[in-house]
Subunit: 141 residues, 2 copies
DNA sequence: ACTATACTTGACCATTTTAGTCAAGTATGT
DNA sequence: ACATACTTGACTAAAATGGTCAAGTATAGT
């Protein structure tokens, strides 16, 4: 099981954004420099975040991105969903008329992954951007 | 985030094994046929399970594998650990003297993954092979 | 002792996913 | 007009995944 860095970057970038948001739109270039994430990659990520209305873009000279909602309204689950970071349960083929793996019975792990998925999602649903914002300022050196 | 099928196969195979264990050692060939998992791949997996003393091998004509412990003593966490299925947190480079990503500060996601990891592991530590065994017989068609 | 069965080990490989890069735009504030 | 910044889409090197293939070794039963 693993978490990809796309999800991690999205979270890092949004925390960065939330921190500077209040004053002006934040350009991806600034985020790129501050967080050490490739600008090209950030563009991909923010395009998805925008599609899910987590951020808004503002064009023009002093443009950039701003959050669409307040930090406490943005849950991790929203962020991960936006960038297609999901809990894949490596499920059995669902197409067949028979059970899992072409057997007559439901495979023994079938319910297990469902339970696990719920368990993980409950974690992501509880954590908001605001929570991260707090702990990140605590950790500042 | 995803779970690989190696972990899923390991769980499926062990539940199968646990179900027939009481009578005789179970050959990988039987498990392969019943669960629809490639024999060659099962060999790889069981080699790891054996190294972590989750199963014992019995050679010879009527040989096969048996569980090393009782089903309620085998937790999912043990199984996943054995087959190298782990929660990868896609962490920041740890080598540098500075903080994450060469920045002066700890990156904001640093603690987050730690928390998540604990959350997931607590799930795996609770579930034993016996639990799965029960629910698998309930689901039989 | 022989042999079939079953475990053991290690090299190898095709496909998919990841983590980006590159290029060519379009929109807008000043 | 023009610099800045967002937008879109094609492309790709490297790693992980999900296996296969080959060549053994050990042992129970006859």
């Amino acid at each position: 099981m693993k978490l990809t860095s796309k999800g991690r970057y999205a979270v890092m970038a949004l925390v960065d954004l939330a921190r500077f948001d209040s004053i002006n739109p934040v350009s991806l270039r600034d985020i790129s420099l501050r967080q050490g994430i490739s600008l090209d990659y950030l563009e991909q990520i923010f395009s998805k975040l925008k599609k899910d209305q987590i951020v808004k873009s503002i064009r023009g000279t002093q443009g950039g991105y701003v959050l669409s909602k307040k930090p406490n309204e943005i849950k991790l689950t929203n962020i991960f969903h936006a960038v297609d970071e999901k809990v894949k349960t490596v499920q059995c083929k669902k197409d067949s008329k028979k059970g899992c793996n072409g057997k007559a019975t439901k495979c023994v792990t079938h319910n297990l992954w469902d339970e696990l998925e719920n368990h993980i999602n409950s974690f992501f649903e509880k954590k908001s951007l605001e929570d991260l914002l707090k702990s990140s300022t605590e950790n500042r050196i």
